[in-house]
């Protein structure tokens, strides 16, 4: 299970990098960025994952086997922060893309570069 998830994370990252580098459509580039970040988030989550782990909340019942059986809560906190950052960056990028479309009447990066030199 964990190995498959690592492969999935790497595939997500590779797909994202491919989309950012090779696509000429701005929206597709932004989607590629999102997929890339999702791959990283998955990677972070798997780092803290344990097979058959319990939720990282200490109660009176589980305190003696908590350390060996709970999943690592820190990566989840990191991913939460990172998702918020990613959301705002995506929103900003999309707004800028619409403004670019208003000015240039296209979202093809090659044409934008040609127009502006």
């Amino acid at each position: 299970m964990i190995v498959i998830s690592y492969y999935a994370a790497v595939i997500f990252m590779a797909l994202g990098i491919y989309a950012v580098v090779s696509k000429e459509n701005l929206i597709k580039k932004i989607i590629g960025l999102n997929i890339f970040t999702m791959g990283i988030h998955l990677f972070l989550i798997i780092i803290g994952f344990k097979e058959n782990g319990i939720a990282p909340i200490i109660t009176a019942l589980n305190s003696n086997y908590f350390v060996i059986s709970s999943v690592d809560p820190l990566p989840q906190a990191l991913v939460l922060t990172s998702i918020v950052i990613d959301l705002s960056v995506t929103a900003l990028a999309l707004i800028t893309a619409t403004l670019v479309y208003d000015k240039f009447k296209t979202i093809d990066t090659n044409k934008i570069n040609k127009l502006e030199g």
Binding site: L33, T37, A93
Partner: protein, 487 residues
């Protein structure tokens, strides 16, 4: 002793909040709040100097959580210098933008305060994920600021910057994730203690360095910077050229030297530095646009600083020359961007081929700009000379080829400086004498002060050398950092 450093970030955030809520109603408030916040941050930084000199490093555990679990604020010698530079350059930027930004001023100042918050946080934090968050804060405000003019070039540069920048931050995040997976900690000092030397460390370090290179516009990843500087106000250009590069170079030092202790990276840093200075200078030679030329020249100079850091991994004197060159470069950048504002205001364009003959209108301004260009090149008795000379001397004994390349780059720098000086000040294709050159009083004062500093540092290079030596003495001890944070 009382701890002042930790008040700076909340204070800057509060000032941004005041400007964004009240700024568009009370017009004068924007500038005044910015100046007050930056000045008091500078005073807080300077007040913590005795603590730095006494203890060697300023440590503060945020909200009392001990080091591996909480976030630590750690400021050493270079960090102190970078903080002072951020606030000084911030004050200069505020004074330029007072005349330059005519509309939507509250937006500019709000975003500029957020930008400073990010840079200050990156400098003082001792936690790598916290570093990432502050990196994103400063980057996001820079993305928005880079479309401030709301015309075609501005939007094009902005979307380019957003895609390259957020891609770089994501790469940085992979580095952090790998480090956490390998060593189970995010605290820099804790990481330093737990790191086992080995080949596996190179991959996260390389990913982190890639992110920092993009943020600081080091050469393979520099493409966004000239466009952003060209299509935006000169004041934002100064902010992004001087302070952003300084902070990312400091972070490179912090990661490679302090955290990883990867002294074998010196050769790679030197190669990248040579590439940076060469490409920056060659591209600057081709530019017709004044702001773009200054941006490329700033890239080239950041190559020299990185070169000094690379050499410093082998001989500590390299760090001293790098810090000295950092101080010189920031001063020269400030002069060049203030002048760029004045010149492009005068000609209503920043295209150098449409300029000419300012030398007849204002002699003192001509001399100041000429001195700045010559000290950029490294002419003796001006401030850039001593630091570049030290870099040559240090590299001559270690890598003679690198010394040769950096000398060639200095010659190219001289070439583009002369080209710019000729086109702007001496070229008399057209008659420009009808409108007098307007320089606001605050700009005159800033230029005069910076000119005096350049000449003083040029004639008495020992002053700057002594200063950088003291700064380096305060920041090279890795044991002190480790003990200070973890005890």
């Amino acid at each position: 002793m009382y701890n002042y450093i930790s008040y700076i970030v909340p204070m800057l955030l509060c000032s941004a909040f005041i400007i964004v809520t009240l700024g568009h109603k009370y017009k004068k408030l924007n500038f005044n709040v910015t100046i007050i916040a930056l000045l008091s941050s500078l005073i807080f930084t300077l007040l913590s100097l005795p603590k730095l000199l006494n203890e060697g490093i300023i440590i503060y555990q945020l909200s009392g959580w001990q080091a591996p679990f909480g976030i630590t604020v750690a400021v050493d010698g270079i960090g102190f210098l970078i903080l002072s530079l951020i606030f000084l350059i911030g004050l200069i930027v505020a004074f330029i933008s007072k005349h330059e930004i005519k509309k939507r001023r509250y937006q500019f100042y709000t975003l500029f305060m957020f930008y400073n918050v990010g840079l200050v946080g990156m400098t003082i934090t001792g936690d790598i994920f916290n570093f990432f968050v502050f990196l994103e804060i400063s980057s996001m405000s820079a993305y928005i600021l880079s479309s401030f003019n709301r015309d075609k070039p501005a939007f094009e540069s902005s979307i380019k910057y957003i895609i390259i920048g957020s891609f770089a931050s994501s790469i940085f995040l992979i580095g952090i994730a790998m480090l956490y997976g390998m060593y189970g900690t995010l605290n820099m000092a804790d990481l330093m203690m737990k790191i086992v030397p080995g080949f596996g460390n190179n991959i996260p370090l390389a990913l982190i360095l890639t992110g920092l290179f993009m943020k600081g516009a080091i050469v393979p990843f520099h493409a966004w910077k000239p466009d952003v500087v060209k299509s935006n106000p000169a004041s934002f250009g100064l902010a992004i050229s001087a302070t952003s590069t300084a902070v990312s170079l400091y972070a490179i030092f912090r990661f490679v030297y302090t955290v990883f202790g990867a002294f074998y990276f010196s050769k790679m840093l030197i190669y990248i530095a040579l590439l940076t200075m060469f490409v920056g200078a060659v591209m600057a030679l081709q530019q017709k646009d004044l702001k773009k030329m200054i941006a490329y020249s700033a890239i080239s100079q950041s190559g020299y600083i990185l070169f000094g850091f690379g050499l410093g991994m082998m001989e500590n004197i390299g760090f001293v020359s790098a810090i000295y060159h950092l101080i010189n470069t920031v001063i020269i950048d400030a002069v060049l961007f203030i002048s760029a504002y004045i010149i492009s205001q005068h000609f209503k364009t920043s295209d150098m081929s449409k300029m000419g003959y300012i030398s007849r209108q204002n002699k003192l301004f001509t001399v100041t700009f000429g001195v700045a260009l010559l000290s950029l090149t490294g002419i003796p008795f001006l401030n850039g000379f001593a630091s570049k000379w030290m870099l040559y001397i240090v590299s001559l004994s270690l890598y003679p080829f690198a010394a040769f390349v950096s000398f060639i780059v200095s010659v190219i720098t001289l070439a583009y400086s002369f080209k710019a000086f000729h086109l702007i000040f001496l070229n008399d294709k057209r008659d420009y004498e009808k409108t007098p050159l307007f320089i606001p009083l605050s700009h005159k004062v800033m230029l005069a002060v910076l000119l005096v500093i350049m000449l003083v540092l040029g004639f008495f290079p020992d002053l700057g050398l002594q200063l950088s030596q003291n700064i380096i003495d305060l920041s090279l001890s890795r044991d002190l950092y480790l003990m200070g944070v973890l005890s």
